[in-house]
Subunit: 167 residues, 2 copies
């Protein structure tokens, strides 16, 4: 018998997206450290946000996806000073579990939550650096467009890109 690679559809049936719990902190830290896109400072900021979300800060809403183990998480929240705009602050999938549809399920969960809260637009900031190209293509495939660019934002030669989707 062969054991074919599961399709995203199969994973969608088995994977479970649920709100963050206290005991997710350690697996999330491991996920962040396994990703090559995050600096030590990025990891520290991400974990601070996880801590704030666990403490009940309404600015941050976090969902994890699990399929046996936790394979990713997303964090979004209402953009300060706006009415109905939300930011997707983080979306992370275990690098050993890429291309199986987990990211799409997490993104869909964020979008559904934003709509449930009366949101009308979701924004995603990202970097123009070449190692973010797969991430950018993922946003484009999911209906996001490049709404704005701030040249040399992160550091010289590294622009901030703002992707947007009306919900």
């Amino acid at each position: 018998m062969t054991s074919p690679r599961p399709s995203p559809f199969d994973i969608g049936l088995r994977a479970n997206v649920r709100p963050l719990r206290d005991d997710d902190r350690a697996p999330i830290e491991a996920l962040l450290r396994a990703s090559h896109n995050f600096s030590e400072r990025d990891v520290a900021v991400a974990l601070e946000v996880i801590g704030d979300a666990l403490a009940g800060d309404p600015e941050y809403i976090v969902n994890v996806i699990e399929n046996g183990a936790i394979t990713g998480y997303e964090c979004h929240g209402p953009t300060p000073l706006t009415e109905g705009t939300f930011d997707l602050y983080w979306i992370v999938v275990d690098p050993r579990a890429q291309k199986r549809g987990y990211g799409r399920l997490l993104l869909r969960a964020a979008e559904e939550d934003v709509k449930k809260r009366g949101g009308r637009m979701l924004l995603i900031d990202t970097s123009s650096q070449v190692n973010y190209t797969p991430t950018i293509n993922f946003y484009k495939r999911n209906g996001y467009h490049l709404e704005a660019r701030i040249h040399d934002f992160y550091h010289p030669g590294d622009d901030k890109l703002v992707f947007a989707k009306k919900l």
Copy 2:
């Protein structure tokens, strides 16, 4: 004898820009409430930031300008996750003391502080609403250009504009 209106140059000689102190809190709240551009929520956020700055939060650097009484303040700080980018979060001049050069002195103080800290760019977010037109013209006169726009950011029809200046 006539008593001519003082020129910005005269005011520049007499006005004093200095770091925030505890007893500036009440006059700053009065300034914010006297300005028609700020909602109750904007005022609450601004005062929270003032409180953070007074508590020593390194994310927020505040200077006030006084000429007898306090006539304005600015708040800037390092933009999270960037190297060398700073945000001007607030610049407020008493509406009864506009067009006398206080804003320019505050903006210059912010730029000098950013350069002193090794910053290379200062960003200013503002709204596309018509009541911000004088503010936008003020930024343009001081060397800022429109770097990015996010349509419908604050609410439908009210875009976020990002002005930038390389320092």
